[in-house]
């Protein structure tokens, strides 16, 4: 009898827990439903329609996608721009990050670390929207500081850092490298400092020099964090919008327009919501592939540890 009532009480509290669990999750679930799930299905649906917001969407089958893959030459340009920005900035950032982290890994002086963190990390916490304003002024063709110094020190003629196609894309990439340098450097620095000292001691006894230590111990052991940092940053870079939107407005002649900017432009300037959703579907597909890659890598990373 008492055993039975005990079980009853247990079941009762179990049921109460079930209800509490769902109640606790309900606000997050509701927001997830309204701002993630419904928009995703709406995006999928609208990608098969023609929709200008003033009249209801009309179903047009695959025509948006046919246009996207066969008739739209801009999608190729903006995809290549986005890809170049992501890959070049992340690869260079990792190379620079490894070098900087290796150079200061043994400097643990408090004041030195403080100043290094201030100089290198601060660009990462300032809004890209402000960074774009400052760099647009620095890089201006005729009035910019960069051209002034290039002329007075190297005698170079003023360059259109924001107005010539290749240079403009290069400027966007350069600013991204400048912004993320500290972030990547400090992640890798933590990775290097977590490596067991005994590896180095053993190798030093065998007569390995500093370069050999870096080449044969630090970098191989750091590979998992390098891969992880690359994938995280590539996802961030694929979404690039603020800096080119403010600095060059995608110009000159689409040379710095990214996929996110193209979606915005198609949806809100041209009011082709349906077509913009088709581009978004493609965009999500790419992000998905990279994210799945990230999960694979981070699983492996955790196992290594």
């Amino acid at each position: 009898m008492s055993r039975q009532s005990g079980r009853m009480a247990g079941m009762n509290s179990r049921r109460k827990d079930e209800i509490a669990g769902w109640l606790f999750t309900a606000p997050a679930l509701l927001m997830f439903l309204i701002f993630v799930l419904i928009p995703t299905f709406a995006m999928l649906y609208l990608s098969f329609t023609s929709y200008k917001m003033l009249t209801p969407p009309t179903f047009t089958g695959l025509s948006n996608f046919i246009r996207l893959f066969t008739k739209d030459s801009r999608i190729l340009t903006v995809s290549l721009n986005t890809l170049k920005i992501s890959v070049i900035s992340v690869v260079l950032n990792v190379v620079i990050g490894i070098i900087l982290a290796l150079l200061i890994t043994n400097r643990k002086n408090g004041i030195y670390s403080y100043i290094i963190r201030l100089f290198y990390f601060f660009p990462n916490i300032v809004a890209p929207a402000f960074i774009a304003i400052v760099w647009a002024i620095l890089l201006a063709r005729d009035t910019g500081v960069v051209n002034y110094y290039l002329h007075s020190i190297f005698g170079l003629q003023p360059m259109g850092f924001l107005t010539e196609g290749g240079l403009a894309l290069g400027s966007v990439i350069g600013i991204d490298i400048w912004r993320n340098m500290g972030f990547i450097m400090f992640i890798l620095l933590a990775g290097i400092r977590a490596i067991d000292r005994s590896y180095y001691e053993a190798a030093s006894l065998d007569g390995a020099n500093t370069f050999q230590l870096a080449r044969h111990i630090t970098i191989p052991l750091l590979t998992p964090s390098i891969l992880l940092v690359m994938v995280i940053n590539i996802i961030g870079e694929l979404k690039t919008f603020d800096i080119p939107n403010i600095m060059t407005e995608g110009g000159p002649n689409n040379a710095t327009r990214t996929v996110a900017m193209y979606i915005y432009d198609t949806a809100f300037s041209k009011m082709s919501m349906g077509y913009a959703c088709a581009i978004s579907v493609l965009f999500v597909a790419v992000i998905m592939v990279v994210t799945i890659l990230q999960f694979r890598l981070s699983n492996r990373w955790v196992n290594y540890d």
């Binding site: 769902w22 606000p27 997830f32 979404k239 403010i246 979606i263 809100f268 579907v281 999500v284």
Partner: protein, 279 residues
């Protein structure tokens, strides 16, 4: 002996080089601040300033006395950021607690569903979100900005990971003492993961305070703009003739962040980098 001596000198030289390069990395901010002190008439005079040649706040006064609601924008930024932090954290802590500690039937599926939303960047789903908000009358309003930012799968995931390290026995014994789930969540488990919560506050602050994309899409009137959007709109409004005034506006927005960073930088850097690695 000599080798060791050279090794030490080389090490010092390298440290100084890294420091010098760091200074170069930081110069755009020095330029921004020093130029904001120049009179508009001499804004383009070369060479530029990297340190203020005189402490002249005329440009700041011009901005604050103009019709442009710069202070209002700062208040908007602060309001949206603080509201998002409070609401997002409350919602995320509750969900994380339920998934990590109540473990109701279906909680794993819920977490997987939440995580899958990481693959759906806001830049892709913004069109339906915009349409929905305009139907609800939440376009061009600060509550609209906050509500879009309530759900954050990354925050829920990080908090859940952290709560998983709290022993189940703590929760069980509190239950035996008759504590409700609400009380265990807020009174016992949440205080035990304070460091993670602090990291999340830093990350959310940084993300929302710096956000340009969402306000750019949703906000259209001056008095509702946040700082990143508002200062860029101001730049367009004033044209390129007033470089020092624009740099004063940017300095006005960046200096408070610099001050916060000067005091809490160790914490901010560690929080941001460790969150990236764990996520």
């Amino acid at each position: 002996m000599t080798k060791k001596y050279w090794g030490k000198a080389g090490g010092l030289l390298i440290s100084l080089l890294v420091l010098a390069l760091g200074f170069l990395v930081f110069t755009p901010f020095l330029f921004m601040f020093a130029q904001s002190m120049r009179m508009p008439a001499e804004a383009y005079k070369m060479p530029p300033d990297f340190f203020p040649t005189r402490w002249d706040l005329t440009n700041y006064a011009t901005l604050l006395n103009s019709d442009l609601p710069l202070v209002r924008m700062a208040v908007n930024s602060l309001t949206v950021t603080l509201c998002t932090i409070v609401v997002r954290l409350t919602v995320s802590i509750m969900a994380a607690y339920a998934i990590a500690k109540i473990r109701y039937r279906g909680s794993n599926a819920v977490m997987i569903g939440f995580l899958s939303s990481m693959m759906l960047p806001i830049q892709a789903t913004i069109i339906p979100i915009y349409i929905m908000l305009s139907r609800l009358g939440l376009v061009n309003s600060l509550p609209g900005l906050v509500i879009v930012g309530v759900f954050d799968s990354f925050a829920i995931f990080m908090l859940r990971q952290s709560m998983a390290s709290v022993p189940d026995s703590v929760v069980e014994s509190a239950k035996i003492d008759g504590a409700s789930q609400l009380r265990i969540c807020w009174g016992i488990v949440a205080p035990m993961i304070k460091p993670t919560i602090a990291t999340m506050i830093v990350l959310i602050f940084n993300g929302v305070w710096n956000d340009y994309f969402l306000p750019y899409i949703l906000i259209s009137s001056w008095e509702k703009m946040t700082l990143p959007l508002g200062i860029n709109a101001l730049k367009g409004y004033m044209g390129s003739g007033n470089q020092s005034v624009i740099l004063a506006a940017v300095s006005f927005a960046v200096l408070p962040i610099l001050i916060i960073f000067l005091f809490g930088q160790r914490y901010i850097v560690e929080g941001m980098t460790s969150a990236a690695v764990k996520g």
